[in-house]
Assembly symmetry: C2
Homo-oligomer: 176 residues x 2
């Protein structure tokens, strides 16, 4: 027997305050869960294709992304942002350094630290990867419109872990 779902159009309610709680049915939530799952697949698909040709993986992409965004960050900072162990990150970093995509300089103030920078070659790959990902994001944003994008960001932020959200929000102010 078919269910009678509330329907996505039943949302043009008068109050955006959350009065109408019909959209919080388990069925609606399940759809949101599946949308996240499928969308994340699309989100990573384009960079993954590029990476697989270079014998790199998603972890390499993530490292390149955050080193590009915050040049000079330390290994410790990076592994905190990525949420992985230092050993796991280290393997990825080692190949990136060996291949001349990332440069690791001894920290200025604290010589135990290593500060990470992209080389020209590393910057080039990062640009290629992120441009592929941005292209999809851009298309999705265009398709959905500015209002939807604002909602998209709101929900994503609310879905993050507390500490991560604080981290993410503080990163918002960071310049390129």
């Amino acid at each position: 027997m078919t269910i009678d779902r509330p329907g996505p159009q039943g949302m043009n309610d008068t109050s955006a305050s959350g009065e109408n709680l019909l959209f919080l049915t388990d069925e609606q939530l399940r759809k949101g869960i599946e949308a996240m799952f499928f969308a994340y697949r699309g989100f990573t698909a384009d960079p993954d294709r590029i990476l697989s040709e270079l014998a790199y993986g998603r972890a390499h992409h993530r490292a390149l992304h955050f080193i590009n965004r915050s040049p000079g960050l330390t290994v410790n900072t990076l592994l905190t942002v990525l949420g992985v162990t230092k050993q796991s990150l280290n393997r990825v970093l080692r190949t990136l350094i060996e291949d001349g995509l990332v440069e690791s300089r001894v920290g200025r103030k604290d010589r135990r630290e290593r500060q990470l920078y992209l080389t020209a070659k590393g910057g080039e790959l990062e640009r290629q990867l992120s441009e592929a990902q941005r292209a999809r994001m851009r298309a999705a944003y265009r398709m959905a419109g500015p209002q939807a994008v604002a909602g998209f960001r709101q929900v994503l932020e609310a879905m993050m872990d507390e500490q991560i959200r604080a981290q993410y929000l503080s990163l918002k102010e960071v310049r390129i």
Copy 2:
């Protein structure tokens, strides 16, 4: 320099067609990309904790989820939905069947097929996992409000691969 985000309420524009293209700067897109990354971590965090205590992984959760949603689906359908190879899926299914969480019955019409069902025990774990995930989704939805949720879903759908989106949209109509 800090960005001025459009803001969820300042969006009462005349056209939802995407006239205002300011939100498509690379900086805005990069934030969307990072929001996806961090949010997905939160999205999977709660089930992951439960699973790790049972020596299961995310792959087991995904299988349980889709078997629960479409009882009797075939192995082939499931691996198409999950986007993995049969060898990969088989390893996961085997343990779930051995542990008495999933039942595999010979297909009715086509006896080559195996139809998958959750056992009572499997249903219980699925409920525990999905309830943890729904709780976070519910909280995020409440925090963001119905209008944001609609936008969230719109952008996610636009981000999926073509074929996946078609699949996802068709699944919307499916009954439990």
